[in-house]
C-alpha cells in the first residue's frame, strides 16, 4: 500500500531529512517509526500525504505516484489517510465536535451520519462530555485525542500518527493504543512515530528505525532499541 523508492528530501535550509529511503508497507500492517529527535521521522511521515514533497525519488500510495499527482487531486489522497499530527493541528475557532466533524464535512457526508460518527468516535477517545469545548480550553492530551478522533472518524484505510501518545499519561496512552489496535484488527494500516519504549516493547509490531534520514533497522516484532 505504501512504497518509497530512493526517496531523498532536502529542506530549503539545506538540511537533509531523508537520504535515500526505500520501504514497503503492506495493507493492514502496524508499523512503529522510531529514532532520535530530528532523525527524520516526521519528514518520512509527512511525505506520505504530501505535506512535504521529496526532492527526488518516488512514493506510491495504493499505486498512485505522489510525484505525478496533480495538486487538485491531493485533497482526495488526504481523505483516504487519517493523520494525527505531532502538533495536533486543530482549528482554533471550531469546538471539539466541529473539529472532528470537519473531516466528514469536506467529503459532504450527511448531517445524520456526521452526528452519529462524530459522537461515536468522541465516545471512543473519551471526550464526549467535552464536545462543545474549544481547543484552547483543553489540555494537551485532550487536544491530542481530538486529533486522533478526527483522523479515524472517516474510517480511512491508512492512519498515520506522529507521536500520538506524546502528551498522554500512561493510562490514556494505553487506551489510545487499544483504539489503534482495534482499528488495525479491522484491517487498517497504522504507521506510528513514537518515542514510547514501553509501548513498542509491549505491543510488538514491525519497527522501522530512522537515523539521519536513513532507515537503519527494520524488523518485525522489533524492540524500541534506544536508551530513553
Amino acid at each position: 500500500m505504501i512504497e518509497m523508492k530512493n526517496v531523498y528530501k532536502k529542506y530549503p535550509n539545506g538540511i537533509v531529512a531523508a537520504n535515500g529511503i526505500d520501504i514497503e508497507i503492506k495493507q493492514g500492517e502496524f508499523v512503529y517509526v522510531v529514532g532520535p529527535s530530528g532523525a527524520g521521522k516526521s519528514t518520512f511521515i509527512k511525505m506520505m500525504y504530501r505535506e512535504e514533497r521529496p526532492t527526488s525519488g518516488d512514493i506510491f500510495i495504493n499505486g498512485t505516484n505522489l510525484s505525478s499527482l496533480k495538486n487538485s487531486k491531493v485533497p482526495y489522497l488526504r481523505r483516504q489517510i487519517g493523520v494525527v499530527f505531532q502538533d495536533f493541528k486543530l482549528l482554533p475557532r471550531l469546538n471539539v465536535y466541529e473539529n472532528v466533524a470537519f473531516a466528514l464535512e469536506v467529503i459532504e457526508e450527511t448531517p445524520t451520519v456526521i452526528r452519529k460518527k462524530v459522537m461515536d468516535v468522541l465516545e471512543l477517545v473519551g471526550l464526549k462530555h467535552k464536545a462543545r469545548m474549544f481547543p484552547t480550553e483543553l489540555s494537551g492530551g485532550e487536544q491530542q485525542r481530538v486529533s486522533i478522533a478526527r483522523s479515524i472518524v472517516n474510517t480511512p484505510q491508512l492512519v498515520i500518527a506522529d507521536e500520538p501518545t506524546g502528551n498522554l499519561d500512561p493510562d490514556t496512552s494505553w487506551e489510545i493504543m487499544n483504539i489503534f489496535e482495534e482499528i488495525n484488527a479491522r484491517g487498517t494500516t497504522i504507521i506510528m512515530a513514537t518515542h514510547n519504549r514501553e509501548i513498542v516493547n509491549t505491543i510488538r509490531h514491525r519497527v522501522i528505525a530512522v537515523e539521519g534520514g536513513l532507515i537503519t533497522r527494520d524488523e518485525d516484532k522489533g524492540e524500541y532499541g534506544y536508551e530513553n
Binding site: 493523520v83 482549528l91 482554533p92
Partner: protein
Amino acid sequence: MKTRTAGRHFRDSLKSISRNGWMTFASVSAVTVTLLLVGVFVMIMMNLNKVADDLEKDVEIKVIVELTADEAAITALQDEIKNTSGVAEVQYSPKEDELNKLMLDFGEDLRLFEQQNPLHNVFYAKAANPQDTEKVAKRIDRLDNTFEVKYGEGKIERLFSFLNTSRNVGLVLILALLFTAMFLISNTIRITIVARRRDIEIMKLVGATNWFIRIPFILEGMWLGLLGAIIPITLVTTLYYNIHKVVAPKLAQGNLFELLDFSPFIYQVNALILLMGVLIGVWGSFMSVRKFLRV
C-alpha cells in the same frame, strides 16, 4: 456541491463576519467610503452627461433663405438640405412664422410689419451628430439660395470641448477610484485571511479542496461588499431625491436642460453601487485567499 455544503459555507461566512468584528468594520468602512464617492461621482457625471446631451440637441443650424428664392426654389432647397450628408432633420419656417416668434418675444407692436414682412424664410436643420454641426453648416452654406447659415459659431465649439473634457476626466476619476478601492479592500481582507492562514493550512491537510476553503471567504467578501453598500445607497438616494426636488422645478423654467428623472436613474445608480460592492468584495477575497491555498 451539495446543498448542505452550500449551507455550511453560508453559515461559515456569516460566522466569520461576526467573529472578525474589527476587520469587518474596517473592510466595510473602506467599501462604504469608496462606494459613496463613486456613487456621488456617477450621479454627477450622469447628470452632466444629460445636460451635455440636452445642450447638444438644442444646437440648431439656422439657414436663412435668399429673398429672391421663389416657392419652387425653396422646395428644392429643402430637399437639398435634407440630402446633405450629416443632416438629421430639416424644418421649414416661413417668414410669417418667424414674425410670430418675434412678436412673442417683443410684443404686438411688431404687428405693423405684417403687411410688409421684412424677414427671410428660414430652415432649421439639425446635425445627426451635434458635434459635426460646424461641418454640416459649411456644407449647407455651399447650396444655392442660402443667404446666410448660422449655428452659434465659437460658442458651441467651446461648449463641446468643455463637455468632452469633463466626460473624460470623470471617467478617469471613476476608474482611479475603483482601483484604489479594490486595492484597499483586498488588502483589508488579506489581513483577516493572513490571520487565518494556519486554519487554511489545516483544512487543506485534512482533505478540503481549494473551493471548499475559498467559497466561505468569497461569500464573506460578498457580505462585506453588501454591508458596505448600505450607507452609500441610502445617502445617494436621499441626496438625489432632495436635489431633484429643489433643482428640477427651477431648471424646468429655463427649458434648456433637465436633471435625470429620479426613477429609474436612482435605481440604476443603486444597482451599480450594489454590484460594485459585491464585485470589489468577491474579487478582494479571491485574490487574497489565493496564495494561501498552496499547501
